[in-house]
């Protein structure tokens, strides 16, 4: 990781890393340690005195049925988002891989939702499903389905899952397509000569060979659903109705900035950090030794 040849020692390298390290210390390490410290404190209702309470905030969280519920809801939400967007992306990539002419054209038209901010994706979907005006809500009404995500919790959940998955399809598609295009053609041709049809080739050759990509995307999508979907939920449902779409990140924000329960919010931040660290470690271990065949 260090070059065999390098420059003689001097003060210069310290100056070079200084900006990055200064920003990291001031805006990352210090706030994170503050969060850790605050998670051990309880502040009284007027903010006048604080008390050091060790793990009481954490214990209170795990005894709080509302938090445990949020935890499972987040797991359900992120698995649904990852599952839906990855399945769609895999299907599209499998077909795009077959296209000889116009592949770039199709790719161009499929990748742009990646560029759209989550909150904008939320705004688009909430407009389509607006119970009084939205075009899709109107069509559903004509089919006899009464759509109102402002009152119906499971419909609200469905809406944020669809919006979140829609935005992520583009990303998954790009990675799946790249993985499929890197499979040597000779392998596929050999299978075809042996009489394997397209579907069989997909399940017995292509799908196993791209499993490292699937695993990588699963982790990335989980991280996306855990953190980046804040904008979608904030725009579409604000965590409602009756907390039906409140996920962990949204609860940290809501308890901290709206409810001003600093200790509990900090404890929730610390739990989230632990989750990110776990996911990052999983991702890096996987990159060290890829799933090989």
């Amino acid at each position: 990781m260090l070059k065999r040849v390098h420059f003689p020692p001097s003060l210069l390298p310290y100056l070079l890393v200084a900006p990055q390290v200064a920003i990291t210390l001031v805006f990352f390490i210090w706030p994170a340690s503050q969060a850790l410290y605050q998670s051990f404190l309880i502040e009284d209702a007027f903010g006048l005195s604080t008390e050091f309470v060790w793990f009481e905030n954490f214990l209170a969280l795990f005894e709080d049925p509302l938090y445990v519920e949020t935890f499972w809801r987040t797991a359900y939400f992120s698995l649904a988002v990852a599952g839906l967007s990855m399945t769609l992306a895999l299907l599209l990539a499998a077909f795009a891989d077959r296209v000889v002419r116009g592949a770039t054209f199709y790719r161009t038209l499929l990748i742009w939702p990646y560029a759209i901010a989550p909150v904008l994706a939320g705004a688009l979907w909430v407009f389509m499903f607006n119970p009084t005006l939205g075009i899709v809500a109107w069509a559903l009404d004509a089919l006899g389905i009464d759509w109102n995500h402002k009152l119906n919790g499971s419909q609200a959940m469905l809406l944020v899952i669809m919006a979140a998955a829609w935005k992520q399809v583009a990303y998954n598609f790009l990675f799946y397509l790249a993985a499929m295009q890197s499979i040597p053609k000779s392998v596929i041709e050999a299978a075809a000569i042996d009489g394997a049809g397209p579907l069989r080739r997909f399940w017995t050759i292509i799908f196993p060979l791209i499993s490292p990509t699937t695993f990588f995307l699963l982790v990335v999508n989980m991280v996306y659903a855990f953190f980046d979907t804040f904008g979608i939920i904030h725009a579409v449902t604000q965590g409602g109705p009756a907390n039906a779409t409140t996920i962990l990140v949204y609860k940290v924000y809501n308890d901290g900035f709206v409810g001003l329960d600093l200790g509990s919010s900090a404890a929730q931040s610390v739990i989230l950090m632990a989750i990110v660290i776990a996911l990052t470690v999983v991702q890096f271990r996987f990159i060290e030794k890829r799933v090989e065949y």
Partner: protein
Amino acid sequence: MIENRPFLNILTHLVMIFGILMIAFPIWITFVAASHDPIRMTQVPLPLLPGDQFFVNMKNTLFGRGLSGTETAPVWLMMLNSLAMALSIAIGKIVISLLSAFAIVYFRFPFRMGFFWLIFITLMLPVEVRILPTFQVVADLGLLNSYVGLSLPLIASATATFMFRQVFLTIPDEMLESARIDGAGPMRFFWDILVPLSRTNIAALFVILFIYGWNQYLWPLLITTETDMTTIVMSIKQMLESAEQSPEWNIIMMTALLAMLPPILVVVLMQKLFVKGLTETDK
């Protein structure tokens, strides 16, 4: 193609077209909504084909007073704010990552690995998990409602540093040897050899980071309280809220369209760089 299967070929194109329609439908609806007059946008069912008010709406949105009954900055100013934030995040990240990757790869100095791990940790601390304390730090430094406060806390980047480290490691050692024989100092070597050699990587990274910066939502939402500093992406939320009283969907959807246009243009026009940047930073 392996074998000729006409049925499968037709199915392929059908699936692709269906996929594109599904992906593009929300954006099409946005475009249609942005091209009608306000009265048409209150009549159910809403139109599926564009109207003729597109440029009128665009003018009213960009330079108008915004939605009736709300105090907001003009949209052109929000777009400028977004641009300033996106550019300073992208350029800032690239500059500090280039410098620190250069130090870590080309110098041997005490605490080198310590610094490396310090930078690595930032990967595990996204804004969303440390919002409250970071907000306090920025408030204490008096950086609320400023471009510095908008961009500086998001600038540290482990992924960019890793990518440049990877690029520098592929540059042959002979480059450095010959540069040193010719009497070039470290900074000369950096400017005249390393930066030109990593030009495409810088460009690819810039595309990704520009989109990342432009699309920031939670952070600007917290630290801007003055209307003059709002970014266009965060203004959508306020508009959605006021839509309950005055549903001027043509203006709201035009704002949404303007907010997503710059990053979409970047992706579509620089597709090669975009794909390169995406696959290189995430692996």
